[in-house]
Symmetry: C2
Subunit: 155 residues, 2 copies
DNA sequence: TAAGATTGAGAGCTCAATCTTG
DNA sequence: CAAGATTGAGCTCTCAATCTTA
């Protein structure tokens, strides 16, 4: 016996949930990205950066942005490079800690975020939300929220 | 009015479900891939190919494999290139349709798939299944199953 | 010695074009 | 002309190493 261990192998229903997660994510994200690309809209990762900054009041240190955007630290550096080159974000030295950098949303960036939302919202509605009842949506949000929170722990 | 149209904008609870899906997927898949990489195991996409073939009885045409593996058609060509170079899969001309190619699981491939499962199962258990009750797992499987099926339709 | 961020190198993915066969 | 599969080019991601400051 020993530790409060985890079952080595997931049971059938949890395995079905795992497979459904992989399939639904691939199908929905893929379809939305194709739609956005075809419409010449901002790529999803760019939008993700802009929203995270907007929700944080317009400025965030790089490593905090990395957490919210769900990308690796090094991946974020380059993603912000591109978004910055497009003028939607600006980098500033972090006051008080000379190691740090803060990403700041520019006016153009805030405008781009607002302008991009409708197309993105439509994609979510068509490729995801449409298939869920309110009860199902609530169940998914609750259950997967715990998964995300749990994974953040062991990090 | 007109078409049986879809709401332009998802409501709050469905939007929360969407965000939870993105976060849970990124967290769980990322953690599992890091574990597998650290253990020197097969990458997830390779495993995905081997399982799909095993479940189909060992052989599948390229475009059928592409559907199950949840990767783009062109992405699959190269993925199979790599797995084939490792000797886990072999390509054969498709009998009856000279345009086609079938991917065939080799003995080494079948063995690799069996050997890889425990590590992968443990990752699913630790980073995903552990956080879900049986009821929650069933709800997630049902709801996201519909999303995946729906997206497959409009494709 | 650790934390914040960037960089270099290599691998993988996506789109669009191409080639072959139906 | 459509379907099956591959290829070429460009872009993005990841890991590991590096540099600077705490």
């Amino acid at each position: 016996m020993g530790e409060p261990s985890v079952a080595e192998e997931p049971d059938e229903i949890r395995l079905a949930a795992w497979r459904a997660l992989l399939n639904a994510h691939a199908a929905a994200v893929g379809a939305i990205e194709r739609d956005l690309h075809a419409a010449g809209a901002l790529p999803l990762p760019w939008y993700d950066v802009l929203v995270a900054l907007a929700e944080a009041g317009g400025r965030l240190r790089m490593h905090e942005l990395a957490e919210r955007v769900v990308l690796s630290r090094s991946g974020l550096t380059r993603l912000v490079d591109r978004v910055e080159a497009a003028g939607l974000v600006r980098r500033e030295p972090s006051p008080g800690d000379r190691r740090g950098t803060v990403a700041v949303l520019t006016e153009a960036g805030a405008a781009a975020q607002v302008a991009a939302w409708p197309a993105y919202a439509r994609g979510i509605a068509v490729h995801f939300a449409r298939h869920l009842s309110a009860v199902e949506a609530e169940a998914v949000a609750g259950a997967l929220g715990k998964v995300a929170a749990g994974a953040a722990d062991d990090a």
